[in-house]
Each structure stands twice: as structure tokens, then as C-alpha cells.
């Protein structure tokens, strides 16, 4: 049997829906999918902030999501090595090269800033694409829909302003 090298958005969407159903179900984890709490859990843990109100508040979700993200790393590495054959050490994405610049220092600087903003913003909002969009909007949660609406508009405006030669 020959596996396809890429999956399209319809196959991807169907598989994500099945995974959401399984994760929510009482036979799965009886909880939503989420990712950003794990990042703040690690931050708080590594920087000795375990005695804080916030860590006590998120530690259960955070620990669950850490195990989830370890699975994600395994699944991603396996697929990139054996199915899509895309594993490769890289620094500057082709699209960044085309619409921003050719500088390793600039890409790494902005990656740090971007990653910082993503997690800080997700924690202010109480979730990210996984928690608010995949899990929240699937339950018709108003919080997820507000987050999704704001995020899509700001994403496109930032794309217009930050990149050039569009």
C-alpha cells in the first residue's frame, strides 16, 4: 500500500473532527483539546513559580497538555521522517525569504517575539487555536467565536502590515 505524501484539507478536517469527538468522549479523555496551557505550565515550572495563584489554577490542565504535546512531537517527527519525508533542519522559511528578508538573525529575533506574543496573548484570552477554535467553536462557545473573530481579522491585518511585496 502506498500512502499519499500529503493530505488535503477535507481529509484533514474529517480526521480532526474524529479526533475532537474521541478526545471529548467519555471513552477518550472527557475533556477538550488544548495546547497553550502546557507552555505556561512549563514556564512556571522551570522558573520556580509553582507557588503562584495561576500555577495552582492551571496545573492539572497544564500537565495533561504536556503529555499531549509529547505525543504531538512523536507523531510529527514520525510523519515527517517516514510519510511526508520533510524532516530537515531549517531556519528561514521560503515565504519569509520572499516577503521579509534573508537574515537568520532577523528570523530568529522575530520568532522569539512572535512566540512570546502568542503564548502571552493565549493566556490572556484563556486559550489558543486548539482550545478556543477547535474545541470552543465545536461546542458553539461564544468565547471561542469572539476569540476566533478577533484573531482572524488581526492575523490578516498583521500580514498586510508586516510583510512586503504582497
Amino acid at each position: 500500500m502506498k500512502l499519499p505524501k500529503r493530505l488535503g484539507w477535507i481529509e484533514g478536517g474529517i480526521l480532526i473532527a474524529i479526533l475532537i469527538w474521541y478526545t471529548f468522549s467519555i471513552w477518550g479523555a472527557d475533556r477538550p483539546i488544548g495546547a497553550s496551557t502546557a507552555i505556561s505550565y512549563m514556564g512556571a515550572w522551570f522558573f520556580n513559580l509553582k507557588d503562584t495563584e495561576y500555577f495552582q489554577h492551571i496545573k492539572n490542565s497544564g500537565a495533561w497538555e504536556v503529555v499531549f504535546l509529547i505525543g504531538v512531537l512523536i507523531g510529527g517527527a514520525f510523519t515527517s521522517l517516514f510519510i511526508t519525508k520533510t524532516f530537515k533542519f531549517r531556519v528561514i522559511p521560503p515565504l519569509w525569504r520572499k516577503h521579509k528578508n534573508n537574515s537568520v538573525a532577523s528570523r530568529l529575533f522575530w520568532s522569539f517575539i512572535g512566540g512570546f506574543m502568542i503564548v502571552f496573548g493565549a493566556r490572556l484570552a484563556g486559550g489558543c487555536t486548539s482550545g478556543h477554535f477547535l474545541s470552543g467553536a465545536s461546542q458553539t462557545a461564544v468565547s471561542g467565536l469572539i476569540f476566533g473573530g478577533v484573531a482572524i481579522v488581526v492575523l490578516i491585518v498583521t500580514g498586510r502590515l508586516f510583510y512586503k511585496n504582497l
Binding site: R90, A137, S138
Partner: protein
């Protein structure tokens, strides 16, 4: 700072075992499947996510809208049958708007988010690894500042869903909602980022 990974792993696994949300193996399995789907569709690339911010490729929103639309209909009936439960996040209005804005600016720049980021790390992207380190530091800073920040995150308007608001009409509303989201996926342009930068 404390980078004792053994102690970290022990405490984390203990916390997971003490809650009733699946065994370690179940959670790992969910993560692995997520990683496989995201990597196999290649929505874990800067080119696909920042490409959507530049309106040059639409695979990411198509897959998101289609997946959520389909999931919403099934999930509604699963919850009705008692096979699953609602897990609704509150409408903390200030946090959602301010946080959503900061989040999306970062997402357009890094080209990834907390779920797809680890997939990009796993296939060798060093820039995204640096981004995740930025994220871990942001998580620590947020934890530290939380007592101050929680004042600007409100008001908390409660945990509300559209199906709740529809009351008796929820049974047909969920189909309108789910089908509308799936229709958006089909109506978005068929432009792929590969036309711009080749296969990613």
C-alpha cells in the same frame, strides 16, 4: 530556575494520573494522532499559516472551518446522549479581545500557534524552536503577573454557547451552524501557497 527534567516528568505524570481525563497512554495517543494529522496536511508550516495572513494560501482556514463544522454537529448529539460533556471557557471580554489581538499578531509573525508549533519543531525548524522558548518565557511572565493582569481580563460574562441561547431550537440550529461553517470552507478561495513558493 529549575531544569530538573526527571522531577518535572514525575510531578507532571503524577498530576495527570490524579485526574480523570484518560490514561497517560490515551493522552499520548491523542497527541500522536494530532501530530500525524497536522504534519501530514502540512498545516504546521510558516508558509501555510503566515501564507494565510498574507491571503496567499487558504488550506489552514479551510481545514479549520470544515473540521469544526463537522465536529460541532457530532459533538452536540454526543453530549445529548451523555457520551461527552460540555467544557466551555468563560467570556472574559477584555482578555479575549486584548489576548486575541496579541496572539494573532504573534501568529502572523511566527507563522505557528501552540498546537502546530511543536509539530514544526519535530520536523526540524530551528526558528520555531526559538519561538517556543519565547513562549515558555511568556508563560512564566504571565504566571508572575497574573494577580495584576486578572483585573484587565474582565468582565466575565459567563460560559455561554449558541445552542444554549437557541433553547428549544438548538436541535436544528446545530445543523445550520455546522453546515454554514463547512460551507465557508468550500467558499474560501482554492489558492494554495505552493503556487507561491513550491511544495512545502
Amino acid at each position: 530556575m529549575n531544569f530538573n527534567i526527571i522531577e518535572f516528568a514525575k510531578e507532571t505524570l503524577q498530576l495527570v494520573q490524579n485526574q480523570n481525563h484518560g490514561s497517560i497512554l490515551t493522552i499520548l495517543f491523542i497527541g500522536i494522532v494530532f501530530g500525524v494529522i497536522i504534519q501530514w496536511t502540512r498545516v504546521d508550516t510558516f508558509d501555510k499559516i503566515a501564507g494565510f495572513a498574507m491571503l496567499k494560501g487558504f488550506k489552514v482556514p479551510k481545514m479549520l472551518f470544515f473540521g469544526i463544522g463537522l465536529a460541532s454537529i457530532g459533538l452536540y448529539f454526543m453530549i445529548k446522549m451523555g457520551w461527552a460533556h460540555y467544557h466551555i471557557k468563560p467570556i472574559i471580554l477584555g482578555g479575549l479581545i486584548l489576548g486575541g489581538t496579541i496572539f494573532a499578531i504573534g501568529m502572523a509573525i511566527l507563522g505557528l500557534c501552540p498546537g502546530t508549533g511543536p509539530v514544526a519543531v519535530s520536523e526540524g525548524n530551528i526558528d520555531v524552536t526559538v519561538g517556543m522558548i519565547g513562549g515558555i518565557i511568556a508563560g512564566a511572565l504571565f504566571t508572575y503577573l497574573y494577580p495584576e493582569l486578572k483585573n484587565i481580563m474582565g468582565p466575565d460574562l459567563g460560559k455561554i454557547t449558541l445552542t444554549q441561547l437557541m433553547g428549544d431550537n438548538a436541535d436544528w440550529f446545530i445543523f445550520v451552524y455546522g453546515i454554514a461553517l463547512m460551507a465557508i470552507a468550500f467558499l474560501l478561495p482554492n489558492k494554495e501557497i505552493e503556487e507561491e513558493v513550491g511544495e512545502v
